[in-house]
Amino acid sequence: MSDTSVIEVSGLTKAFGRTVALRQAAFSVEKGEIVVLLGLSGSGKSTLLRHLDGLETPTSGSVRVLGKEVPSLSGRHLRALRSRVGFVFQQFDLVPSLTVLENVVTGALAGLRGPRVGLWSYPKRLKLAALGHLDRVGLLDRAYQRADTLSGGQQQRVAIARALMQDPEILLADEPVASLDPESSEQVMSLIREIAMDAGLTVVCSLHQVDLAMSWADRIIGLRHGDVVLDTHVEGLGKAEVIEIYGRVATSTGELEAIERELTDVPSGSESVR
């Protein structure tokens, strides 16, 4: 493992009772990499992401993030690490009854002392920063609306703005577009990528759509039933490798055959037109 890796996972095993969610997972992520954890639901990708932010404690193994051994941290030290790692959730997880702006400033809570209630209790500098991030995600005009009046895609963009409030070095995203329609998905995914490129962020994002992962990520880590079954860079992959990826990650063989057929049919179809 090189000096520039910001995430180093080795021998990570997590069991919930008898179910093993992760088995001996190991990989590392370089600074600035955009990585997708690819797998079906139940493959362990959410659990893996949650370990990176200390939301879960491993049964065994090591999780190093930004040079810190996450499971050994607690209290103030854990919060300090979390404040350097942004997290975007599938269900957005905004407080529905608060305004958009107040939801965004809560991202900065780690840098403040004590509980805060109401916008007036946040310093002006943070409110300005929050407005800036809202502008970045294209929702400045919604700042004073209640969060639950926004559409799903807009809410997820607010959640991204909230994560940006932390000035994160790493951005984790757990199925950020699973509850969104294709168009909003597209918007959110390209927004995450743009922001990551601009700020040199390291991104680890879990997804279940192979095609989306292929077109979006620099690198794909495939998970299946708690095992890391794939770790590859996307650039320059041939057709055989793509089928291989589907094969490793998809569950049923029927599904795999269907995909294989589709991939082989397309070129032959275009030939007949010619």
Binding site: D93, V95, G114, R116, L131, G132, Y144, R146
Partner: protein, 498 residues
């Protein structure tokens, strides 16, 4: 009365925090929190008032403290339940961003439970309004005291006049809760209840201005406008100040009005704050009066008989209320009532019933039927319909409309839809509300005894008036045991019928 509720509302926040399973710092704390809620609920406010009257002599402070402490139990129980039912997401998001536990609570949990907290506090205020009548009987100042004098001097005209004032107050409270709830939940009040109607009227007046204000914000900075570096900082600085649109103006006006009313109520109560400091010295000597528990001149069998009678009254009243409120409550639900007129009249009936304090009802019934358990049971049953009917109607309106639609589409009649979809979905709520009423009734039955409704309350009043405080302790312990028992059964039943 208002002061007492506010006191309870404030204290209940930390109590609920430690009592709720998902926020509690530890198991021991949770047990302590739950114990405080049960204990404060079990001790009748009359007894508390008695104690505080002893400590402070007459005045408003004993009443405020009695109502306050007694209300802590209910508010923090409901509040703790609400905390346990929140969406964990926002809270997890704040934890993931590195927020501390307290920050998680303030930013992730509190905003979610605030509407339910306000609703509970308003509801409790409603109950306390009626409760303050009975406190007059043990010498706490207020309308209740005036009324008890009126009835004691057999001046029924004056008494009923005061009762009417109380009724009007109750209806006003109902309207206020509706308006506040609608504003907090951000929903358009669509109900046909009295409160909803007033809320709608108020809303209509401001709606036009909201639309205009909304347009202005919408056009100033659109999503599609490309960010031009020169104007952006200015736009951000401009956005720092929240525009004063109609909604914000309305909310601010309401908030300041609420604050003014609270401050006003404290001033009106004319509290002797000094008493709060000087009384601590008196507590030991008064505590001695209450210990050990003793049945005094009565034998244990009489007392247990009286307790059984009280439980009997509560059970009978609950059963009676349940039967009537299923009918009235169903007809008051929007998705069950055959037409708007039925629903409106049923809702109006429920508000009217709730507006009549049970104690006043009991006193009137006693005048008619004479002393005894009959008057108490009917009074409680009647009052119960008001509360249970409303709860049932609300929870029926909240059931998912999908199954109802599906059955209607399959050609089911109105009554078939009701039985197979509405009632089936509403049953768990029905059971929960039934037990809640039983729980309330056991305590209420105690109090009704004081005005002559039969049961243990009669002995409680006797003991209190005869300065036989050891007996008061014994009776309170009996009530506590009963309430704990009912609480246990309710918890068990809820688990079984989930």
């Amino acid at each position: 009365m208002l002061c007492g509720t506010v006191l309870a509302a404030v204290v209940s926040v930390p109590v609920a925090y430690i009592a709720a399973a998902n926020t509690t710092p530890g198991r021991g704390w949770q047990a302590l929190g739950r114990f405080v809620t049960v204990l404060t609920r079990a001790i009748p406010d009359v007894v508390l008032a008695m104690v505080f009257v002893l400590i402070f002599s007459l005045g408003t402070l004993p009443g405020i403290l009695a109502i306050g402490i007694h209300s802590i139990g209910m508010i923090s129980k409901l509040f703790a339940d609400a905390i346990e039912q929140i969406d964990e997401g926002p809270r997890r998001a704040i934890r993931a961003a590195g927020g501390s536990r307290l920050q998680e609570f303030a930013s992730g949990i509190l905003p979610q439970v605030l509407p339910s907290w306000v609703a509970t506090v308003l509801h409790r205020n409603d109950i306390n309004l009626r409760g303050s009548v009975i406190l007059g009987y043990v010498g706490v100042a207020g309308l209740g005291l005036e009324m008890s004098f009126a009835f004691k001097s057999l001046d029924y005209g004056l008494g009923l006049g005061i009762a009417l004032v109380m009724f009007a107050l109750c209806v006003i409270m109902e309207v206020v809760s509706s308006v506040v709830r609608a504003a907090m939940l951000g929903i358009q009040p669509t109900g046909r209840g009295l409160g909803d109607r007033v809320a709608r009227l108020a809303g209509r007046a401001t709606a036009g201005r909201v639309a205009i204000a909304g347009d202005r914000i919408g056009t100033s900075v659109g999503l599609d406008t490309p960010p031009s570096s020169a104007t952006r900082p200015a736009a951000l600085a401009a956005a720092l100040h929240r525009p004063w649109d109609a909604v914000r103006i309305r909310n601010t006006v309401w908030a300041w009005m609420a604050l003014a009313i609270l401050v006003g109520s404290v001033i009106v109560c004319d509290i002797q704050w000094g008493d709060l400091i000087t009384v601590w010295a008196k507590i030991p000597e008064i505590a001695v009066l209450f210990w050990p528990p003793d049945f005094g001149s009565y034998d244990a069998a009489t007392m247990f008989g009286a307790m059984a009678q009280t439980i009997g009254i509560a059970l009978a009243a609950t059963l009676l209320s349940l039967v009537f409120s299923i009918v009235i409550g169903s007809l008051a639900a929007r998705n069950v009532a055959p037409n708007g007129a039925t629903r409106t009249s049923m809702r109006l009936l429920l508000v009217t019933i709730r507006g009549i304090p049970e104690v006043i009802l009991a006193i009137v019934l006693i005048v008619i039927t004479g002393l005894g358990t009959q008057a108490g049971t009917i009074a409680l049953a009647f009052g119960g319909v008001g509360l249970l009917g409303k709860l049932i109607a609300d929870s029926f309106e909240e059931v998912k409309s999908g199954p109802e639609r599906a059955l209607r589409a399959a050609g089911a009649s109105r009554s078939q839809v009701y039985a197979s979809a509405t009632l089936a979905q509403g049953t768990p709520a029905l059971i929960g509300h039934g037990f809640y009423l039983l729980d309330t009734n056991i305590r209420a039955a105690t109090i009704l005894g004081i005005v002559g409704g039969g049961g243990i309350g009669y002995y409680l009043l006797n003991a209190g008036q005869g300065s036989n405080y050891q007996m008061v302790t014994a009776i309170v312990l009996m009530i506590l045991a009963t309430v704990l028992l009912v609480e246990g059964i309710a918890v068990w039943m809820r688990r079984v019928f989930r």
